[in-house]
C-alpha cells in the first residue's frame, strides 16, 4: 500500500467489496499499466483500473453504424455477447441443452478479433502457474480438443512442440522443464541433442545446441474452428445476430432485465460476457466490473507455402531468458507450420490503450525476423505473403475471469481471455454451462435433437480423385477453379454463400473456403469472387463488401463510406 502511494501519489486507490479500484489521471499510458500491475499485487478479486490518460479520448467501439429494430423484443434463456472462440464454444456447448440461446456479435462475422488473430497453437501450458485458471482450463481442454475438431470436421494437427536451447549451460533447465511438466500432468518432453535435432529438423539454425520436444502440442486453424463452432451451434438451434452491438443494459434489482443493442432490445434470462477486449466494458454495463482489460497488441507474419521446405515440421521456438519473456508477456513467440501449409512467425507483444486498432508496422515485422533468425535462418522476409495484428484481452491479474456475477446475479463472465484462450475454450464452455445449471438450481434439459457431427463439405482439393470426380459430375461448378493459388472451385465458393452463417463478403468467403488466402492474395480471384457473390445472391455490386460494413469495393461515392459516417 505504501509502495503504491509512493509510486503513484496522485492516484486514488480504494478497496470495495474485495476489489481494488484505481482512479485519477496520468500522462503516460505505460504508467497506467504499471499502476494496474502494482495494484494486482494486493490480495483482491481483481483490479478495476479507471485511471485516465491525459489528453486521450478512447476511440468509440467500432460498430456497424445502422440502427434498426430487427431483433427488438427477442427473448432468450441465454444471451452470449461476443462471437469469438469463447462465445462460439459456449454457444455450441449450450446447444446440447434445450435452451434458447442467442449470440450477439458487433462484427459481420464471427472470430474477427483475437480469435482469428493468433497463431492457432494448442498449447501444452508448461509455463503456467498451477494456481491459475489458465492452467486449469488448458489442462482440462487439451484432452477434449481432438474429438471436438473431429466432430466439427476441422483440422487438428498434433505434431508436438519443440523448444530450442541456445547454450549448453541451459541443459539443467530441461530437467526442470520435465519436473514442471510432471506437476502439470503434461506428457514429458524428450531431450534432443544437436544430432537428433538435425535429424528431426534439418533446417534448424546453428545456435540451437539442444532441443526439448513435447509431443502434446498441436495446431488448428483458428478462424475455421470458430466458424465451425458457430455453424455447429446454429445447426443445433442457436441463433447468431451479427452486426449487433450491445450498447447498454437495464439492471433491475441486481438482475439484467434488458440488453440494448443497435438492432433492438433483447430480454435474456442469463447473459454470458465473452466480449474479448471489451469484456470489462460489458461487465461495467452490467454493474459487475471486477477486472480491467489492458489491450496487448501483437503482430504476426504469414509466409508462402514455398517457405515450408525451409521451415520446421512442427512449432519451434528458441528458449529466451525469463527476463526477456517477462518483458514481453508472451512465451516468446515462435515459428509455426499452419494446418493449411503456410508458415507463421510471431507474435510480438506491446501494450496499447486501443482495443481494436489492427494497424501493422514495418518495425514489428523486422523485429520478428531478427528475433527468430537463429531458429530457422533460411526463412526470409521476401517469403512473407501477408501480416496481421491481434490484440490480447489481458487483465492485470494476467488470468482468465471465469465466474458468475459478483453483484449482478444473472451474468456469467468468460472474460480476460488471452493466450492460451484458444486452447482453453472447450473446458471453459463446459463450465459456463455448469454455472447456468447452478443458477437454474436444476439440471439443464437435454436437447434430444443435438447432432454431434457438423455437416460440412471438405475442400475438394483434399479429397480423393474418385470422390472429387463424382462431385464434379453432380455439380460441374466443383470442376471450375476460381482461386488458383489454393485450388478452390466456383462450386465451393457458391456453397460458402449458403452455409448456416452466411457472410457474403470477400473476407467471409476467404475465411470459409480460403479463396484469396494464397500468394496472390486475391489479386486474381478477388474480382471473380465479387462477381460470384453478385450473381449468386443478387446483391448489387455496390453493396458487396471486402469485410465489415462500409468496406465497399465498387461503385463508390465518397459520402457513403463508413469512415465518413
Amino acid at each position: 500500500m505504501i509502495r503504491f502511494k509512493d509510486e503513484f501519489p496522485t492516484i486514488d486507490l480504494s478497496f470495495n467489496d474485495g476489489c481494488v479500484f484505481l482512479d485519477g489521471q496520468l500522462d503516460d499510458y505505460e504508467q497506467i499499466v504499471a499502476a494496474g500491475y502494482l495494484a494486482a499485487c494486493f490480495k483482491s478479486e481483481g483490479v478495476v483500473n479507471r485511471i485516465k490518460l491525459s489528453g486521450y479520448t478512447e476511440p468509440k467501439m467500432r460498430t456497424a453504424p445502422f440502427v434498426d429494430k430487427k431483433y427488438d423484443g427477442q427473448r432468450c434463456d441465454v444471451l452470449i455477447i461476443g462471437a469469438g472462440i469463447i462465445g462460439c464454444a459456449i454457444a455450441r456447448e449450450l446447444s446440447k441443452y434445450n435452451l434458447t440461446t442467442i449470440v450477439v456479435e458487433k462484427e459481420n462475422d464471427v472470430a474477427l478479433h483475437a480469435s482469428s488473430r493468433n497463431d492457432g497453437v494448442i498449447h501444452i501450458g508448461i509455463d503456467l502457474k498451477t494456481s491459475t485458471l489458465k492452467h486449469h482450463y488448458l489442462r482440462k481442454s487439451v484432452p477434449l480438443y481432438q474429438k471436438m475438431c473431429e466432430e466439427l470436421h476441422v483440422p487438428y494437427i498434433n505434431r508436438g512442440q519443440l523448444v530450442l536451447f541456445p547454450q549448453r549451460s541451459l541443459r539443467p533447465l530441461m530437467f526442470l522443464f520435465n519436473r514442471m511438466a510432471k506437476k502439470r500432468h503434461i506428457q514429458l518432453g524428450e531431450v534432443w541433442n544437436r544430432k537428433r535435432l538435425l535429424e528431426e529438423e534439418p533446417n534448424i539454425g546453428k545456435a540451437a545446441r539442444y532441443g526439448m520436444f513435447f509431443p502434446e502440442g498441436a495446431t488448428i486453424c483458428p478462424y475455421e474452428t470458430v466458424i465451425a463452432l458457430a455453424e455447429h451451434a446454429i445447426e443445433n438451434g442457436v441463433r447468431f445476430f451479427l452486426d449487433t452491438a450491445v450498447l447498454d443494459m437495464v439492471i433491475d434489482n441486481n438482475y439484467i432485465t434488458k440488453v440494448i443493442t443497435n438492432r433492438g432490445d433483447i430480454y435474456p434470462r442469463y447473459v454470458v460476457n465473452a466480449a474479448g477486449t471489451f469484456s470489462d466494458k460489458i461487465a461495467a454495463m452490467a454493474h459487475d466490473q471486477t477486472f480491467t482489460i489492458h489491450p496487448r497488441k501483437g503482430i504476426e507474419a504469414i509466409l508462402d507455402k514455398k517457405a515450408k521446405s525451409r521451415a520446421a515440421s512442427r512449432s519451434v521456438s528458441m528458449y529466451r531468458g525469463s527476463s526477456e519473456r517477462k518483458k514481453d508477456h508472451t512465451k516468446g513467440g515462435g515459428i509455426i507450420p499452419t494446418v493449411d501449409g503456410n508458415v507463421l512467425i510471431g507474435p510480438t507483444a506491446y501494450e496499447t490503450p486501443e482495443r481494436e486498432n489492427y494497424e501493422t508496422d514495418a518495425d514489428s515485422i523486422n523485429a520478428l525476423f531478427i528475433k527468430h533468425h537463429d531458429t530457422l535462418p533460411q526463412l526470409k522476409q521476401s517469403d512473407v505473403i501477408t501480416y496481421f495484428a491481434g490484440i490480447r484481452a489481458a487483465t492485470y491479474e494476467e488470468d482468465f475471469v471465469i465466474k458468475t456475477g459478483k453483484w449482478t446475479k444473472n451474468i456469467i463472465h468468460a472474460a480476460g481471455i488471452q493466450s492460451p484462450g484458444l486452447t482453453a475454450a472447450p473446458a471453459i464452455a463446459i463450465d459456463i454451462a455448469k454455472f447456468i445449471e447452478q443458477l437454474e438450481k436444476a439440471p439443464l434439459p437435454v436437447n434430444i435433437n443435438y447432432q454431434p457431427q457438423r455437416r460440412v463439405q471438405q475442400p475438394l482439393a483434399k479429397l480423393d480423385d474418385a470422390i472429387r470426380d463424382q462431385m464434379i459430375n453432380d455439380n460441374p461448378n466443383f470442376g471450375q477453379i476460381v482461386c488458383r493459388c489454393e485450388e478452390i472451385s466456383k462450386g465451393e465458393i457458391i456453397a460458402a454463400l449458403h452455409r448456416p452463417l452466411v457472410v457474403p463478403t470477400l473476407d467471409g468467403v476467404k475465411r470459409r473456403v480460403r479463396a484469396g488466402m494464397g500468394r496472390c492474395q486475391g489479386g486474381f480471384c478477388g474480382p471473380l469472387v465479387t462477381q460470384i457473390i453478385h450473381e449468386e445472391l443478387q446483391i448489387p455490386y455496390r453493396d458487396i463488401y471486402k469485410k465489415g460494413y462500409g468496406t465497399i469495393i465498387l461503385k463508390m461515392t465518397k459520402d457513403e463510406t463508413y469512415d465518413a459516417l
Binding site: E359, I385, I472, N473, G479, R484, G522, T551, I553, M556
Partner: protein, 415 residues
C-alpha cells in the same frame, strides 16, 4: 489415357502463338486454359498499342487476342478451356497431367510441355505497405478487371504506386472514366514504364509523376481514407521526417510482376533469380529436357508481341527432332546488363538466328554491346540510350562458331 506430343499450359498470347506454331508440324498439340476464353490478360487490356511489330498496326488487347485466336482456329490444335492443371508428374518419356474440368478429373500424357503460365502481380504487403487493412487497396490488374470486364468503378480519388506500364495505363483509364488520379509515385529514381506510356498516359492527361517516393502506410478502417508518402534514399529506404499525407479512397498498386512458375518448380525446373523464370536456351527449352518456357512466365516482357515471339520460339524447338543430349553453354554478361534471355546456348539447336532479349541494369547513354565468343567479336551494336524498362531485342548469328567455350555479352560505354 490420351497422349499428346505437346501440351501447352496457358492460353494467353504466348500459349496461343506456341500452339499455332506447333500445329505447323505433324505433332498432336493440346492448349490448356483455365479461364472460359483464350487471350489471358489481353482480354482486359482495352487500351491500344498491341501488335505494333507483329501486325504493324495499333491494336487493342482484345483485338490482338482475336487475331491470334483466328489463326488458331485454322489449326488442328485441341483446346481445353475452363481447365486447371492440378498436378504434373514425370512419367516415362514425358509427363502425366491431372486436369480439373467441369466434366470431371482427367488425366493425360504429354511428351513435351510448353509452360506459358504468365505472371501475377506483387501485392501491397509484399512491398511492405503497413497501416490498416481497408478496402480500396487493389493491384492494377484487379482494378482493370473490375473496370474493363465487370464495368464497375472501384475508385474516385486514387493514388497509384509504381510507374510500371499497367500503373501508367490505369492512370489514364481511371481519368477517362471520371476518376481523379492524385499522382503516380515511384520508389526508384527512374520511371519503370515505357517512355511511350509515360507520354501518352501521364503527360497527355497532366497526371503528376513523383520519383523516389513511396507509400509507406495506409489509413482508414473501412474504406481507405488516405496514404502516407515518404521520400526514399538511394537504397530505397524511406527517409524519416519526409512523411506526407494524401487523402484518397483508393490505392492502385503497380509494383511489379512475378512470373508464375509454380508448375515449373514442382518439376524441378531451375529458375533464374534475375528473371524469376526458368533458365532457357535459344529454343526456350529449360534446363529440364522437354520442358519449354515462354511469355511472361519466362521473363516479364514489355509488349505482347515479344510474348508471342517467345511462344513461337518455344514451339519451333519443341516440334523439331529430338537431338538427344544437349550441348549447353551458359552465356555470360557484364554488370551493365541486368538479365539476358536466353541464359544458355544449345550448340545442337540452330545457331544462325538466335533471338536475344536483355535489359540494362541502369539508364545509360552511348553504349556498345559487344558479343564475343572465345574472345572473338561476333557482333557489336551501338545504343544511344538504354533503360531498364525498355527491353532490347537482337538477332545474332552464331552459326560460324564451332564448339565455343565462352560466350560473353558486354555492354560498355562507346569509345
Amino acid at each position: 489415357m490420351t497422349r499428346y506430343d505437346i501440351v501447352i499450359i496457358g492460353g494467353g498470347p504466348a500459349g496461343i502463338a506456341a500452339a499455332i506454331r506447333s500445329s505447323a508440324s505433324n505433332k498432336s498439340v493440346l492448349l490448356i486454359e483455365r479461364e472460359a476464353r483464350l487471350g489471358g490478360i489481353l482480354k482486359q487490356c482495352i487500351h491500344d498499342g498491341f501488335g505494333l511489330s507483329r501486325y504493324k498496326e495499333k491494336l487493342s488487347g482484345p483485338e490482338y487476342a482475336e487475331r491470334e485466336i483466328e489463326k488458331l482456329k485454322n489449326t488442328a490444335v485441341d483446346i481445353k478451356t475452363l481447365t486447371f492443371v492440378s498436378k504434373i508428374v514425370r512419367a516415362t518419356n514425358g509427363y502425366q497431367l491431372t486436369l480439373i474440368t467441369r466434366q470431371g478429373i482427367e488425366r493425360l500424357f504429354a511428351h513435351k510441355l510448353i509452360l506459358a503460365t504468365g505472371c501475377r502481380e506483387r501485392t501491397g504487403k509484399q512491398v511492405a505497405i503497413h497501416g490498416t487493412n481497408p478496402s480500396g487497396v487493389l493491384t492494377a490488374g484487379s482494378a482493370q478487371y473490375y473496370m474493363n470486364i465487370l464495368g464497375q468503378m472501384p475508385m474516385k480519388r486514387t493514388v497509384i504506386l509504381g510507374s510500371g506500364d499497367i500503373g501508367l495505363i490505369m492512370a489514364r483509364r481511371i481519368t477517362l472514366e471520371g476518376g481523379l488520379v492524385v499522382g503516380v509515385y515511384e520508389i526508384k529514381r527512374e520511371p519503370s514504364g515505357l517512355t511511350r506510356n509515360l507520354v501518352q498516359c501521364l503527360n497527355d492527361y497532366n497526371i503528376p509523376l513523383f520519383l523516389s517516393k513511396t507509400v509507406t502506410r495506409v489509413f482508414g478502417h473501412d474504406r481507405l481514407s488516405g496514404v502516407e508518402i515518404m521520400k526514399v534514399d538511394e537504397t530505397m529506404t524511406p527517409i524519416p521526417g519526409t512523411e506526407e499525407y494524401i487523402e484518397c479512397d483508393s490505392l492502385i498498386l503497380s509494383v511489379g510482376l512475378i512470373p508464375e512458375n509454380e508448375i515449373a518448380e514442382t518439376l524441378a525446373v531451375p529458375l533464374n533469380p534475375a528473371t524469376k523464370g526458368p533458365y532457357v536456351d535459344q529454343g526456350m527449352e529449360t534446363l529440364v529436357d522437354g520442358i519449354y518456357s515462354c511469355g511472361n512466365a519466362l521473363h516479364v516482357s514489355d509488349v505482347a508481341d515479344m510474348v508471342s515471339e517467345t511462344g513461337e520460339l518455344a514451339a519451333t524447338s519443341a516440334i523439331s527432332i529430338d537431338a538427344g543430349a544437349r550441348k549447353l553453354i551458359k552465356i555470360g554478361f557484364n554488370k551493365n546488363i541486368s538479365y539476358l534471355v536466353p541464359s544458355h546456348l544449345d550448340c545442337d539447336k540452330p545457331l544462325n538466328k538466335v533471338i536475344c532479349y536483355f535489359r540494362s541494369s541502369a539508364c545509360l547513354t552511348n553504349q556498345t554491346l559487344k558479343i564475343t565468343v572465345d574472345g572473338l567479336l561476333v557482333k557489336s551494336i551501338k545504343y544511344k540510350h538504354v533503360r531498364p524498362p525498355e527491353m532490347e531485342r537482337l538477332l545474332i548469328d552464331f552459326s560460324n562458331i564451332v564448339s565455343p567455350k565462352k560466350i560473353l555479352f558486354s555492354l560498355e560505354e562507346s569509345t
